[in-house]
Symmetry: C2
Subunit: 373 residues, 2 copies
């Protein structure tokens, strides 16, 4: 059976980089925030994994859309949506923030950029946070403007990203601290650059606000990048699972709370500020969680995930595998699983039913901490 | 260049029917409400077009997700989100409702099912209306429950859908009126059936609440359907454009208001009830609209849409084409376009730049009313 192709349309928005990456060997797309997000190139998954860990890649991650919130009540709205204490937040910094509803369930897990008290960008995971913010602001009668600006992020990831970026923007880019952002110039245009990215291999995200300037920069990276072995890439399944980078919609959904997802340090229940679900989260913390995201290692060499897979112990379901991939580092399949109480402990054994090439089979695995590396 | 494939994951949810349609010749998917929606089978687009207009198709449209709103304030919340007057709405009926924000812009265009004053289902187009409803309900302190139940719609569309459905559910299904819904039994299970669907060829949508019962029914259609020439299918680009069925995200987006999209009859500004954007919409009605969705006919035989395409008159942009396809009925490309004032009139001529197989070329077209047939 052939793999189904993506039926393109205006609704699955192409990005400003799509025509370029398609010429550069793009093989598969996913869809993220109603936009095409590259998911694989002509290199094998393992080739690109080693490449990302050794060299540098440029990623079209325009699908990480920005929700811009401006106005007098912008800070109040932002704080209302997250249990992370932003009262001492600083201009020019990025904040990873779980977003929760009134029941303490997770709606999104964006990185939030603070420009100033009346201007924020929320760099969202795959759910229409704009609509939640709009509904909330309307209901609360907040004085805010909420919009999706034309921002198309290009990520530069991998250990050689520092050399490549400083060649383009100058040495001062190396002074940019982790999760800080600032404007830098290249060839007459100004670019918002953040020291961030959805890998643990180091790098930057460039929040491109001008299409032409973005394409000029994209082309420059490939024009000068040969000596750094630059390649096009995309968020990498093996690397992100090994690194324990969670994916909203895959590992987390609207039925999970921040404590179940290991976000304890982003939940401040002790201070005065108000946010949605605060009382619910206090109760959850008091009573303890009933399930938890953990790592899973399975004694097999390949897996295809198209949905959750149940994990068993003593013929009882003890949780579900949500993401998984073969890891060359472990020479096994590793994954992220939501495990029920009391089984969410290191070295807990489990079984999984997987239809492999020959026939249905039961395979063994073990629970571990996240991240894997 | 190969067409990019879909990278499957838990986040792009498969439906209960996915494994069946993939065995039945599925060729391409789109993604809709974070779920896989079939977009093409092994038949050509034209073959399936004629088939849909002559026979009967079963569609996996589980991606039309339901937002269930229950509770004391359910009706108030529903009415707040739409300018359509639901004060005289009737239990067991479906209502096509534009959903607008406080500025009168369109957020979604669902079909809303009224069970009773404290239970509604909103059968959504492709945006997270659940998050908007949640935000609004939290902000307004409404007493409601908002959830996405496990409902996986199967549509039965085409002129022979009536024969096929009555063979399964009995003759009484033929008494079900357009945009009404009711429960019907088959083989020990009960199914919510609506006389509706995203084609103008007649048919039903079955709101499957029990996975096993849904699959049993799906298989039954293909078991007994030979005499009706039943085939798997999906919302059909040619048929839906000819019929003027609008697609949120393609033809409509968050920058459009209901008057621009021809939804005048679903906007009630004269009655007392309250809804978001009412004052804004009154002003828009008073001042008149500055752009309008119209039909477009272009003198070419094929087109591939991956985003908006500008339409020109006298070297000036007068609008954008948002959806388009070759229509065998017209033997031309037809499409849906947002046209600026004062050009949104029948027979307005335009030019479009399309890179065809040989070289870049300017093609001529004309504006017309919707629907085409």
């Amino acid at each position: 059976m052939n793999s189904p192709t993506v039926a393109k349309s205006r609704r699955l928005r192409s990005t400003i980089y799509s025509s370029r990456i398609e010429k550069q060997g793009l093989k598969s797309y996913t869809v993220y925030n109603h936009m095409l997000l590259p998911a694989g190139f002509s290199d094998s998954l393992e080739e690109s994994y080693y490449h990302l860990k050794e060299h540098v890649q440029v990623w079209d991650v325009a699908a990480e859309r920005q929700i811009q919130i401006t106005g007098k009540d912008a800070s109040e709205l932002i704080q209302l949506m997250t249990p992370r204490n932003l009262s001492k937040s600083i201009e020019g910094k990025c904040y990873y923030c779980p977003i929760v509803d009134d029941n303490g369930f997770l709606i999104n897990d964006p990185v939030i950029l603070k420009f100033n008290d009346s201007k924020w960008w929320v760099s969202i995971a795959d759910s229409d946070l704009l609509l939640f913010a709009k509904g909330l602001a309307i209901g609360k009668n907040f004085d805010v403007n909420i919009s999706e600006p034309n921002v198309n992020i290009m990520a530069v990831q991998g250990p050689k990203s520092f050399s490549l970026m400083s060649r383009v923007f100058g040495k001062e880019i190396l002074d940019l601290k982790f999760y800080n952002f600032k404007y830098y110039d290249f060839n007459g245009s100004s670019y918002l650059v953040a020291r961030s990215g959805w890998s643990k291999q180091g790098g930057f995200e460039i929040y491109v606000e001008d299409d032409d300037a973005g394409l000029k920069l994209y082309d420059e990276f490939f024009k000068i990048g040969d000596e750094f072995k630059v390649k096009p890439g995309c968020p990498h399944l093996i690397e992100r699972i090994e690194s324990g980078l969670l994916s909203y919609g895959n590992d987390i959904d609207l039925n999970d709370n921040p404590f179940e997802c290991g976000f304890d340090k982003f939940v401040d229940l002790d201070n005065e500020f108000n946010f949605l679900g605060k009382e619910k989260l206090k109760k959850i913390k008091q009573n303890g969680i009933s399930k938890k995201l953990m790592g899973a290692i399975i004694d097999i060499k390949e897996i295809q995930m198209t949905g959750s897979l149940s994990l068993f112990f003593d013929n009882k379901v003890i949780g579900e595998l949500r993401s998984a991939v073969y890891s060359p580092t472990f020479d096994k399949v590793i994954g992220i699983a939501m495990i029920d109480k009391p089984y969410f402990k290191v070295d807990q054994e489990f079984e999984i039913n997987l239809i492999d090439k020959s026939n249905k089979n039961i395979h063994k695995g073990k629970i571990c901490e996240l991240p894997f590396v």
